[in-house]
C-alpha cells in the first residue's frame, strides 16, 4: 500500500509534465478559461508570433467589462474594445466563445460550473483570482496574471511552485438564515486574509459534506481571501449528482470518470502541513465593516474600537470605532458576482424581498451570474419579485463587483455605502471612495428593504 495522499497531492502529481527542481513543476492545464480582460493576451500572442496550443481545451466568455444594467445592444457590445478584441482574438484561434446573448453566457466561473467545463481531477487556469471557486469540484483551479495567461495559451502549461497543504475541518450545522457566505466570511475573520497564504487549502468536515454544490462554490470562491491560491473540496455524491447531464459532462466515459472522481478524496491518514478546525454552528450572519474581508463581524456586533492602525480604515468606511454596526444607513445594495449570483442565492434574496419594498433613497441591483440563471429565475417569477419590490434586474456579468462593468462605469459614487454579496471590500473596489460591506444575499436583501444594515433574522421574525 502506497503512502496515504491528500486530494491536493493526487491532483498535483497527475499534472506534472516536468519537475523543475526546488519545488517547482511544469503543470499541464486541462482547461484554460478566458474572460474579456484576456484581449491583451491575444495581442501579445500575435506580437510574439505564437499560436494557441490547445484551442480545444480553451473556453471564453466576456464578463468583466460588459454592461449588466442598460445593455442596449445585448448581443454585440460592438463599441466595447475589450469585448471586440477578445472576440476577434478568440475567433482567430478557434476558441469556443460563449458570447453575449448566448444561452450559455455568464460570469466565467459560474458558467464553468454550470456547463461542467470544470471537472473533478482537472487543472483549470484563468486570468482571474477567483478561479479558486472551481476547486469546489475537486479540481486544481487557480488564478493567473496576463503574462502567465499568454504562457498557458502558447504551451497549455504553467510553471507553479508546489504549495504546502492545509486542511480546515468545518463541523456543525449552520443556523437558519446563516449561509455558506456567512461561514466563509467568519472563517476569514478567524484566520485572517493571509491565514492560508502559501497553502493549498482543503475545506473538509461534516458542514462541507452536507453543503450543496452552490454553497461549496461560494466557500471556495473566497479561498483567495484567505491568501490561498488554491481552494479544494473532495468530490463526492453531491458533486457527481450536480454534474450529471450538464453540457460538457462526460457522456461515454461517465462510469470510469465517476469511479475516478470518487478516488480523489484525501486518503485516511494523509497528513497536511497545517490543520485548522472551525465550528459552523456558532456562526452568525456576517457583515464586513472595513476595507479587507478580514474586517468582519457578526451583524449583532460592534465595529472595533479605534486604534492607530485601524483609524484610516474607519475614516474611509465612515464609521465610529466601537459603534454597533446594525442600524448603519446604506445607499445601495448589490446582489451578484461569482460569489453569490446562483439560483439559490437569488431565491434566498427573493424570499426576503417578497412583499416588501426597497427603502426610499436606496438603489438595489440584482445581477444573475449567467443567462441560464436569469432564465431560470424568470421561470420561477423571481424577477417580478425583485422588480415589484423596487430592485433593478440585470443581465449576467461581473457588474459592480470589480468596478469594471460597462467598461468601468457601473460603479458607485464616492462615499456610497453598499451592502454587497461580492468578495472584496477593498478601497475603491466598487468605485473611488465607495464603502463596501460584504454579506450574504439574504442579508443584502434585508438591508435593501430596511435601508440599513440589519439582522435578516429579525426582519423575517418581525414580518
Amino acid at each position: 500500500m502506497s503512502q496515504p495522499r491528500t486530494l491536493f497531492e493526487k491532483l498535483w502529481s497527475r499534472h506534472v509534465v516536468a519537475d523543475l527542481g526546488d519545488g517547482f513543476a511544469l503543470l499541464y492545464v486541462d482547461r484554460h478559461l478566458l474572460n474579456d480582460l484576456a484581449a491583451r493576451g491575444f495581442i501579445t500572442l500575435e506580437q510574439r508570433n505564437l499560436g494557441v496550443r490547445r484551442a480545444d481545451l480553451t473556453f471564453g466568455t466576456p464578463d468583466h467589462t460588459v454592461a449588466t444594467l442598460d445593455r442596449a445592444d445585448p448581443k454585440r457590445e460592438d463599441n466595447n474594445p475589450y469585448v471586440v478584441n477578445f472576440r476577434s482574438g478568440a475567433r482567430a484561434h478557434g476558441i469556443k466563445l460563449f458570447d453575449l446573448g448566448d444561452a450559455e453566457h455568464g460570469i466565467i466561473h459560474v458558467i464553468a460550473s454550470e456547463l461542467a467545463l470544470a471537472l473533478p481531477g482537472s487543472t483549470i487556469a484563468c486570468g482571474d483570482s477567483h478561479t479558486c471557486t472551481l476547486g469546489a469540484f475537486g479540481a486544481l483551479a487557480w488564478g493567473i496574471g496576463q503574462s502567465e495567461l499568454v504562457h498557458v495559451l502558447a504551451t497549455q502549461t504553467s510553471v507553479q511552485r508546489k504549495p504546502r497543504t492545509m486542511r480546515v475541518r468545518i463541523d456543525g450545522e449552520l443556523a437558519p438564515h446563516v449561509t455558506p457566505k456567512d461561514l466563509i466570511l467568519a472563517l476569514i475573520g478567524h484566520l485572517g486574509v493571509a491565514g492560508a497564504s502559501g497553502y493549498a487549502l482543503e475545506f473538509a468536515g461534516t458542514t462541507i459534506e452536507r453543503m450543496s454544490m452552490e454553497g461549496r462554490l461560494t466557500v471556495c470562491n473566497m479561498a483567495v481571501e484567505l491568501g490561498a491560491k488554491f481552494g479544494l473540496i473532495a468530490p463526492d455524491a453531491t458533486t457527481i449528482e450536480y454534474l450529471r447531464g450538464r453540457a460538457y459532462a462526460p457522456a461515454i466515459h461517465s462510469y470510469e470518470a465517476t469511479r475516478d472522481w470518487l478516488s480523489l478524496a484525501s486518503d485516511e491518514g494523509a497528513t497536511y502541513d497545517a490543520e485548522r478546525t472551525f465550528d459552523a454552528s456558532l456562526v452568525q450572519p456576517q457583515i464586513t465593516w472595513g476595507t479587507s474581508p478580514e474586517h468582519v463581524i457578526a451583524v449583532g456586533g460592534n465595529v472595533p474600537a479605534e486604534r492607530d492602525e485601524n483609524a484610516p480604515v474607519l475614516a474611509y468606511a465612515g464609521l465610529d470605532g466601537g459603534a454597533a454596526i446594525a442600524g448603519t444607513q446604506i445607499d445601495m445594495v448589490f446582489i451578484g458576482s461569482c460569489t453569490n449570483s446562483r439560483i439559490s442565492d437569488l431565491r434566498s434574496a427573493a424570499d426576503v424581498a417578497r412583499g416588501r419594498h426597497v427603502a426610499s433613497g436606496v438603489t438595489a441591483w440584482v445581477v444573475p451570474g449567467s443567462q441560464a440563471i436569469k432564465d431560470e429565475a424568470e421561470r420561477e417569477g423571481l424577477d417580478r419579485v425583485f422588480t415589484d419590490a423596487g430592485f433593478r434586474w440585470g443581465s449576467p456579468g461581473c457588474s459592480m463587483c470589480a468596478g469594471a462593468g460597462d467598461q468601468m462605469t457601473e460603479i458607485a459614487a464616492p462615499q456610497t455605502r453598499i451592502v454587497s454579496t461580492t468578495n472584496r471590500n477593498f478601497v475603491g473596489r466598487q468605485g473611488p471612495g465607495s464603502r463596501t460591506h460584504l454579506a450574504s444575499p439574504a442579508m443584502a436583501a434585508a438591508a435593501a428593504v430596511t435601508g440599513r444594515i440589519c439582522d435578516v433574522r429579525e426582519l423575517v421574525a418581525n414580518g
Partner: protein
Amino acid sequence: MAEPFLAFRGAAAPLLRANIDTDTISPGSRPANSTTKSSFGERGSTTLAADLFANWRYDAEGNEDPNFVLNRAEFRNAKILLAGRNFGCGSSRESAVWMLKEWGLRCIVAPSFGEIFYGSCFKNGILPVQLDEATVERLAAEAEAGEPAALFEVDLEHDTIRTPSGERVHIELPKLRRDALLRGLDDIEQTLARDAEIARFEASASAAYPWLYAPESTR
C-alpha cells in the same frame, strides 16, 4: 526577450501597511479627474503610473497628498519599495506590477506576498524579496532616517541588499526564479523547448483520463 537583472542602487520607500491589495495598487475604476480610464489590461500606456496607488496618492480634488510616501521628494525616484506582509494580495491584475515598474520600482521587499502578484513580478523583471518582518522594519527605519535619499544597493548575483549604513542583508530567492532573472530568460521560450515532454504528457494523460481531453457539448 527579457533583460538580465543587474545590480542597482536606489532609494527605498517605506510603505509598511499590511495586506495592501492589487486594487489599491492599481484601481480598476478611476477617480473622476484621472487621466486614464482604467488599468485593466492596458499595458504600455504612458500614463499607467499616474494612477499607481491613486486612491492614496490623491485627495478627492485630485491633489497630491504630500504625506503619501511616493509623493515625498526623497522617495519620488525610489527604486525599492519596503512593504508590509501579504503585499499584492487580492486580484490577479498584472497592471499592479506594470504600474509599479513604470513608476521606476525594481525591487519590492516584504515579509510575504500575494501569490499571484509574486509570480507576476518575475514575469516583468521585478524582484520580490521576502524578508522577515523585523528586518523589513529595520530597513524601513534606515530608509526613513536617510536625508537626502539614502541609497540601498540590490545585488541579486551576490544575494544581498546593502543598506546605506553598509549592512549586508542576505536575500534568498527560489533558484529557478533567481537564475531566470539573472540570465534574462524568457519563460515561454523555455517551456516551448519542452514541446516533446508536453506532447508525451498529452498522450499519456488522454489515455488515462479520456473524458478530460476531448470536451464536447452534448447539447
